[in-house]
């Protein structure tokens, strides 16, 4: 597994574990599909929970009010791009 594939897998596992998603495996999460609303169907509390998980695991602090935060959470691929760019651990 390449480094990119490993990070994608790690992020999917983080989402499933952090958000206590039942009956969902990493394979069920499409890299390009929306995470919120349709697609995986996450909600606003999940967004806050994911923000905290990114801070704990990768040292990335997001501004909840910033316009680009919404963009980072659009899909797994967008989240992965954010982590690759801004991770500090």
């Amino acid at each position: 597994m390449s480094e990119t594939q490993q990070l994608s897998h790690d992020l999917k596992c983080m989402i499933i574990e952090t958000l206590e998603l039942e009956d969902i495996t990493p394979e069920d999460i499409d890299d390009q599909a929306p995470l919120f609303g349709e697609g995986l169907g996450l909600d606003s509390i999940d967004a806050l929970e994911l923000g905290l998980a990114l801070q704990k695991r990768y040292g990335i602090k997001l501004d909840a009010e910033a316009e680009d935060t919404r963009r980072h959470f659009e899909s797994l691929a967008a989240l992965q791009a954010l982590v690759e760019e801004r991770r500090v651990n």
Binding site: E20, E22, D23, D46, L48, L52
Partner: protein, 223 residues
Amino acid sequence: MQQIRLGDWLGWCPDSIDRLQHPQLLTTDKPGQSLPAMLRRRLDTSGRAVCDLLARLDPDARYPLIHASRHGDASRTLDMLKGLVNQEPPSPTRFSMSVHNATLGVHSIANDHHRPLQALSASGNELEAMFWEAAGYLAQGQSSVVVAFSEGELPEDYVGHTTHPGFPCAIAMRLTLNQGPCLMNSNTDGSEGAPHPFDVIRWLSGSTTTLAGRQQQWRLEQL
């Protein structure tokens, strides 16, 4: 005030605990089938059971609902408090669900319920509080009120400091003025403890004839 009657009831306790073998007692270790998975994940086992009982006793989402729990989701709340002591930021999900009306909130979303909802905690007087509140709704003209009483897992740190059945359990009753046995109450001498949900299950299953609280005791009477 008109006499409150017990229209119907259902209870839940884990499969491993069921010694009563009563048909109105649901015994599954995985309650929550009335909830979609994305909502179910937010509640602990007893919260999920409460939603299942409410969905069965109020299938058309027509009645006011009252949920009482003396301790609520004490395990998650205590974990969150311990985290705060260690300077850890609390989980937004756990924080948002740590309010006492979280279970009814999840149930109302899942069932599109728009009637009154009320969450109670009364330091061991939950039954009195539930019956009084239900009497109020019935006096206002509601045809039925469904009341649920539950306890989740008690954190190890609290064991021995409070009355608790020792396992998660839940009971729900549909109360009305015109059907079923009458709920007769009388004063106690104050020597009894605080009944928990499994005491209510035992009473309604016929294991005991009366249910005694701190101030009142109840029995069912067929008219």
